[in-house]
C-alpha cells in the first residue's frame, strides 16, 4: 500500500521525440486512477515510467515516500498486468504465479499459501498445472491478474488489460477488477483508450492528449464539466456536439444565452441533453431535419441537420421515437446543458 506522486514528470526519447510533458499527479493510497486518451497520447509511456520499464528524463516519481526514479522495476514494489498478459509460456499457471515470489526467496510454504489464495480468489484453482496455451483468453487474463495479486505489491499497474477480450468478457472482467481492487484497497494505475472503461473503473480519471494532462477529476466531474474541447469530444459516446455560438445566438431568443460567459464561441451540447418534449419553463428549442434514425433497443441515436448548419449532429433519446427520416423536428434543451468553450484555446470558459 502506498501513494504515488508524480512531480513535473516528463519523457524525451533518445532521438529527441517527446512523449510525456509536465505531468503532476498525486495518487492517494488505495485509489484507482485511470489514464485515458487516444493512442499515442503518452498514457502507456507514463505507466511504463512508473513501472521502471522506461527511464524518467524529467521530474520526480515517488512511490510511498521513496523517490524511485533510478530504481530497477523489481525494487519499486509494483506489479503489472500487460496487454498481451505476458505469461511465461513454458511454465505452468502455478509457476507463473510463483515465479516472482521464488525470485524474492520466499519460503515455499508461504508461496504455496499465496498462490492457492490468489487462485481461489480468481477462480483459476482448477488450472494450476496447465500451461498458458491451454487456457482461454479470459482465463489467461485471470492468471495475469493472479501474478500481480500474489506479490501483494504497493501498487498495481494495468496496461490495457482488457483490450484483447471480447465485448462480453470485457464487461465481466471490468466488474471483477473493480471489485477486487476495492476489496484489496491497493493503489492502482490503469491505462485504457476506452472512455467507458475509464468512466466505470476510476475513482479519478486522468485524460491525456499529446503527452499532457488535459483534465483530472472524478468520472462525473469530467463528464459534467469537461475542461477542454478535447475532453468534451473524448469522454462520452456518442461524442459531444459542438455548435458555433454565432449560429446558436441567431436561432434562439435574444436573452437565452445571456448566462454564457463572454468569448464563448463554441458551445458543447451532449447528445442526451436534448429531447423531443415541447419547450417549457425557459427551455430552448432547436429545429432540425432527421437524416438517419439508429434504433438501439433501449435507446436511439438521431442524426440530424440543424437549420442553417451543414454538419450532422447526434441526439440520443432514451426510447425509439415514432418519427420518419426526413421529418422536421423540434428539440428542446435546458440552458444549463450548454458547455461554453473558447474555440481558439479549446478551454472551457
Amino acid at each position: 500500500m502506498a501513494s504515488i506522486t508524480m512531480e513535473n514528470l516528463g519523457k524525451v526519447y533518445a532521438g529527441g521525440v517527446r512523449a510525456v510533458t509536465g505531468v503532476n499527479l498525486d495518487i492517494a493510497d488505495g485509489e484507482m486512477i485511470v489514464l485515458v486518451g487516444p493512442s499515442g497520447c503518452g498514457k502507456s509511456t507514463l505507466l511504463r515510467m512508473v513501472a521502471g520499464l522506461e527511464t524518467i528524463t524529467e521530474g520526480t516519481l515517488r512511490i510511498g515516500d521513496r523517490v524511485v526514479n533510478r530504481l530497477e522495476p523489481a525494487e519499486r514494489d509494483i506489479a503489472m498486468v500487460f496487454q498481451n498478459y505476458a505469461l511465461y509460456p513454458h511454465m505452468t499457471v502455478y509457476n507463473n504465479l510463483a515465479y516472482g515470489l521464488k525470485n524474492r526467496r520466499m519460503a515455499r510454504a508461504e508461496i504455496d499459501r499465496r498462490v492457492t489464495e490468489a487462485a481461489e480468489m480468481l477462480q483459476i484453482g482448477a488450472f494450476l498445472d496447465r500451461k498458458p496455451r491451454q487456457l482461454s483468453g479470459g482465463q489467461r487474463q485471470r492468471v495475469a491478474m493472479g501474478r500481480a495479486l500474489v506479490r501483494e505489491p504497493a501498487a498495481f499497474l494495468f496496461d490495457e488489460p482488457l483490450s484483447n477480450l471480447d465485448a462480453k468478457l470485457r464487461v465481466q472482467m471490468r466488474v471483477e477488477i473493480r471489485q477486487l481492487q476495492k476489496r484489496l484497497g491497493t493503489t492502482s494505475l490503469y491505462v485504457t483508450h476506452d472512455q467507458l472503461e475509464a468512466l466505470t473503473l476510476a475513482d479519478r480519471l486522468v485524460v491525456l492528449d499529446g503527452g499532457r494532462i488535459e483534465q483530472i477529476g472524478t468520472p462525473m466531474e469530467v463528464y459534467a464539466r469537461p475542461a477542454t474541447t478535447f475532453v468534451a469530444g473524448f469522454i462520452g459516446s456518442p461524442a459531444m456536439n459542438m455548435l458555433p455560438a454565432g449560429w446558436l445566438r441567431g436561432v434562439v431568443a435574444a436573452d437565452a444565452l445571456a448566462h454564457l460567459p463572454a468569448g464563448a464561441d463554441l458551445i458543447g451540447l451532449r447528445p442526451e441533453d436534448m429531447s423531443l418534449a415541447p419547450a417549457s419553463d425557459g427551455r430552448l428549442t432547436l429545429k432540425a431535419r432527421l437524416m438517419l434514425l439508429e434504433p438501439a433497443g433501449a435507446e436511439s441515436h438521431l442524426h440530424v441537420k440543424f437549420d442553417g448548419l451543414d454538419d450532422m449532429f447526434v441526439i440520443r433519446l432514451p426510447h425509439v421515437p415514432n418519427v420518419q427520416e426526413g421529418a422536421q423536428l423540434a428539440f428542446s434543451l435546458a440552458r444549463e446543458a450548454l458547455h461554453p468553450f473558447d474555440a481558439k484555446t479549446g478551454l472551457r470558459l
Binding site: L53, A74, F82, N84, P89, R133
Partner: protein, 294 residues
Amino acid sequence: MQTKRMTFPGSWLPYALLAPQVAVTLVFFIWPASQALRQSFLRQDIFGLRTDFVWFDNFERLLADPLYLNALKVTVIFSLGTTLLSMSLALLFAVMVNRMIRSRDAYTTLLVWPYAVAPAIAGVLWWFIFNPAIGIAPYVLAGLGHDWNHRSSGTDAMVLVIIAAAWKQISYNFLFFLAGLQSIPQSLIEAAAIDGASRTKRFWTIVFPLLSPVTFFLMVVNVVYAMFDTFGVIHATTEGGPAQATNILVYKVYRDGFVNLDLGSSAAQSVILMAIVVVLTVVQFRYIERRVNY
C-alpha cells in the same frame, strides 16, 4: 489450410515437370548410394582381377577393427566438441548483438562472413594460425607455458580441428539464435524484470527455455555438419593425424577407399554413415516438435 488443386489436361506435362528433380535424385543420390551398397558386399583382390561376393564380411571386419572403433570415438568427440563450441559462442554473440540498437546490422553482417568461407580455406587459415613454426597461436601459448604442436600431440590436433570446424558454423548458428531471440516478446522479459529476476536469471529461466526449439534444431544440424561436412577442414589441417587422433569417419572413408583402395571396406563404412544420417534425420523430425515446450 486450403490448397489449390490444379489439374493438367494430359499426363505428360506433370511427368515432364517432375523429370528434372527425379533425374537429379537418381543420378546424384540413388545411383551412387546403390553402388555403395552393392560395393559393400564385395571384395576385390589386390590386383583388381577378381571380385567376390562376401555378404556381411566387410561389416564384420570393420566392427572388429580397433582403428575403425577409434575413428568412431574420435568422431563422437569431434562432433560434440564442435557442436558445443560453435553453439555456445553463437548464442553468446547473438545475445550480445540482440542488446545493441544502432550497430546491430553491422555486427550481424560481420558475424555472417565466415559462413561464406569454404571449409578447406577455413582449415588452411587455422593451420597457419596454429602452425607450430610460424603461427601466432603457438607463440602466444608458449608464453603461457604450453608447448603447442598439433603434429605430435593428438589433443592439440583435436583442439585445432574443432576450432577450425566450429568457427565456420558459428555464423549459421548465430543467425538462428538471433532470430529466435528476436521472436521472444519483449513483454515477457519486462514481466520477469518486474517479477524480480536479475539479468542472468531472466536469461536462464525465460529466454533460454523459450529458445529450446531453435537450440534443438541447431544441435542436430551441427552434429550432422561436424560428422559429414568437415572433410575439407580435416584434409587441410591434420589429414587425420597424428596417429589417427583426428581420423573421423568421413575422412577414413576417403583414406581407405581412395588412398588405400580398399573399396569394399570403404563402401561398408559409407553405408554405416548413411544409416547414421537416416537415424539423425528421423530423430530430428520426430522429436523436434515434442521438444518445443510451449
